[in-house]
């Protein structure tokens, strides 16, 4: 199972490179093996794969995506991809029925030495807006592990490669931009930090860059 998961992981990365020729742009930080919480915009299932592809191999193995258990445990294939290949931290997104606290689950993974990839919009963005309003999990997790760097990551163009409902991806060039780390200030409340995190992520999108010039 382990070998199969590795092979499938490599095949997925190669396929992602073939389709998107994806390039990582380290704008605010360097790819060093530090414990981090990456948070990114979410437009498709490929988002995590692109981040994974541009991470150096050593970092890749220690970086785990946070994903919805309801989706990734549905079928044996999804279970294999989600749990064995991507080594996801699976959380229960339904607050009414869940038995474990998602923040605690994520914090536990951080304590084990993993870095996490979060999509704080909570679901795939299918609107015309650049970002959906963030959920509060990023704030609570950051607050509970104050030493961990919180890194904004903008994934560009993937929504055009594979819009929702399409079966065949179109080869287009994508970029993944890593911004400067954020830390939650002692006095900072939830709304202020969430607004700051959203702004930091949006500032990395090429559309925002173009309007500066």
């Amino acid at each position: 199972m382990h070998v199969a998961a590795r092979l499938v992981g490599t095949a997925i990365v190669l396929f992602a490179r073939f389709i998107t020729a994806v390039r990582g742009i380290w704008q605010g930080i360097e790819p060093t093996p530090k414990e981090r919480i990456y948070f990114a915009n979410h437009v498709s299932h490929g988002d995590f794969i692109l981040i994974w592809t541009v991470l150096p191999w050593r970092l890749r193995r220690k970086t785990r995506p946070v994903a919805g258990a309801d989706y990734w445990l549905k079928t044996p294939l999804k279970r294999f991809i989600g749990r064995d290949v991507f080594n996801s931290v699976l959380i229960d997104r339904n607050p009414n029925t869940r038995t474990s606290d998602p923040i605690a689950t994520m914090a536990e993974a951080l304590d084990e030495g993993a870095s996490l990839i979060l999509f704080p919009e909570g679901t795939r963005n299918e609107t015309e807006q650049a970002l959906l309003p963030f959920k509060a999990g990023l704030y609570h997790l950051g607050k509970s592990r104050p030493g961990v760097e919180i890194i904004p990551v903008w994934i560009d163009n993937l929504n055009r490669v594979m819009p929702k409902g399409e079966l065949v991806p179109i080869p287009l060039i994508c970029t993944v931009t890593f911004g400067a780390p954020l830390h939650i200030a002692v006095q900072e409340n939830k709304a202020a930090f969430i607004a700051r995190a959203e702004a930091a992520l949006l500032a990395l999108s090429p559309a925002a860059e173009g309007s500066d010039k």
Binding site: A21, R160, P163, V168, I170, I173
Partner: protein
Amino acid sequence: MNDYQLDLLKLLGGVGAILIVASIIGYILQRRLSPDGSNAVIENLNARIQAWWGMVILMGLAFLGGRTGVILLFAFCSFAALREFATLTNTRRADHWALASAFFVVLPIQYWLIWTDWYGLFSIFIPVYAFLLMPIVAALRGDTENFLDRVAETQWALMICVFCASHVPALLSLNIPGYEGRNVLLIAFLVVVVQSSDVLQYVWGKLYGKRKIAPKLSPSKTLEGFVGGVLSSMLLGACLWWMTPFTFVQAGLLALVIALMGFFGGLVMSAIKRDRGIKDWGHLIAGHGGFIDRLDSVVFSAPIFFHLVRYWWTP
């Protein structure tokens, strides 16, 4: 070893020798002028020379692989170029199937037609069948916003990246009496002339360039670079007559046409880049930019060269 292999080795040896000289010059310049890597021109020059090594080795392997190697290499170049071009288009959701079919149906069929030597179809397949069927696929999705722009962009992407580029391996299909089995050298002639014209224009421009020739399109191109580069690559082409079916004068004239088309092709592709506000088409070839940055001149000269040779030299 037959004549053809000997000529191919001579050519590769010559190009290798030039690259060795270029690498030594690059190394000396770097030691003298940019020991800490601070001189951007020198660093870019060395990145370019290194990428040239990669490209020449790849081309050499493709040539040794013969027909299959050359067709596979250019099919991949077309794919990478189309990926760069499509990234810059304003296509919408409704173009999804049209674009997907450009990559996964039209491109493979075009190169398969070249593989099977089917001149009657590969020379019209994209301009007739693809250009009529793709807008139909897009129209069926019912989205009319910027429809003409979207269709035109997609078609031009296919024209440049697939149709024109495929005329390089199409040279293999020409039956030139007395030149049987040597057509790979015709490709080598085209590629060497067009690329050396680019390099020589860069060198002449850097050494003697003063007057800008197209300041709006390509601020780095100068009149001195253009004249020096085109004339010297014409001379180089003439000196390569021994590997072609042409005489010395004919080879020089064809090299002139190739260099001119390559130069103006570069200008056209620059105009597109300026319009879209980018400097390079991509980042896959260090120091050069994307595939289209390296292929733009080949793409414009290949179909003209193909048809000139086909008209004058095949029965």
